[in-house]
Symmetry: C2
Subunit: 214 residues, 2 copies
DNA sequence: GCACAAAGTTTTGTATACAGAGGTGCGTCC
DNA sequence: GGACGCACCTCTGTATACAAAACTTTGTGC
């Protein structure tokens, strides 16, 4: 693995996981020493982070971890709506929809598990399942431009997710909403898939806005 | 201006204007000498171009100008539909819609000019007007995430535009479609704005696909 | 004559050294 | 006592030198 890739991967992970909180100044020598690479590959990593929007380059002052707050939530979800609703629509029209019926079933099972006694143990599998749905939609949409836009969006979402804690009842409802999306795609009903996605996003945003900041 | 910015700007312009056609290998020393900068800032420029999708880094072989062809058109317009339809919808709901009525009028006038005797002279003003509409929508949407996604999209569109020549009658129809979009936004009718945008994109894609390659 | 391997050459990837710009702190002047 | 200015210092931005990896070419063996 190249040193610049290593620096990029580590810095990106640290930023997304809030180990480097917003506003942190990323001094080149400091970070280079911390990560065990030279300044040259580190600068390349910082440039990529800036392109991702995870850092902003201040003139003369180097790079600082970009700000993120609930003020961005509406903006983030507006982009999410544009991309994900259309993605669901396209996925439902795609030829490669074999896996979605099974995914819908697994989401329903996950919802039951989240409602059961040991909800904590069902949490991690549920997040992985949600990731699988994202991947399946990406594959079905089969559009590198949309995929790239979604990748950037998901990075910011993962970062903002820290601001809102996940209540078990919300996760259970979310699982049912995901099941509806996967089911609509499996059925090839593009407008139903779009509607189900729109509903999920609306509920998701509502939940974050009412339960965040505590 | 920093040397890396200069290298990025020039390379980007050369790629978008097809002075560096797809498949061109961007040797580091070669380009560094051509642009009069050192390899270090040039590498930073190449990294940014890769992030934009204008170049792809091939293992061991450096960077090459990314491919672009009519095969990408459907993918590009799918993303365009997702972003621009939602942008029009958001712009129509925005508070800052003062300029759109005037823009709609200017598009109607531009359509008349394009239908008149000296259509060639009306070409350049029309392109500028289309750019103004894009900017106005960006301002009304007021969403940095969507704006960034649109910026990347427009870069690729500018590049692919070379593949399709602009027939005068299509431009005239396009002007009317733009007038409809601007008018709907000015009226604050979000669904009408979305529909007008959808129609414009559909016609635009149809035209390119039937008239391209000659 | 073709295929495989090895060596050479060209290229990228990394480190370090140097220069320039900006910021901060202290001193002096008003 | 406060404000402005100068100097020092730290940090970014750039260049160059070195190392490593990959591709190409040539030679030899089958």
């Amino acid at each position: 693995m190249r040193a610049s890739d290593k620096a990029y991967t580590e810095l990106r992970r640290d930023i997304v996981e809030w180990k480097l909180p917003p506003g942190t100044v990323l001094g080149e020598v400091e970070q280079a020493e911390r990560l065990g690479v030279s300044r040259t590959p580190l600068r390349e990593a910082l440039a990529r982070l800036s392109a991702d929007g995870l850092a902003v380059q201040q003139r003369g002052r180097g790079a600082v971890v970009s700000d993120v707050s609930l003020d961005h939530l509406d903006n983030l979800f507006e982009l999410r709506r544009a991309l994900e609703v259309e993605s669901s629509r396209l996925a439902a029209r795609s030829e490669h929809r074999e896996g979605f019926a099974r995914l819908a079933q697994r989401f329903t099972e996950a919802a039951d598990a989240l409602g059961g006694g040991d909800a904590g143990a069902a949490l991690e599998p549920y997040y992985r399942l949600a990731g699988e749905l994202d991947e399946a939609i990406d594959q079905a949409v089969d559009n590198p431009y949309i995929e790239q836009a979604l990748r950037g969006l998901r990075t910011h979402l993962a970062r903002v997710r820290r601001l809102a804690q996940d209540a078990p009842d919300r996760l259970r409802a979310s699982a049912f909403e995901h099941a509806a999306i996967a089911g609509a795609i499996a059925a090839g009903d593009s407008e139903l898939a779009a509607a189900a996605t729109l509903l999920h996003l609306s509920h998701s945003l509502d939940h974050i806005k009412t339960h965040a900041g505590s």
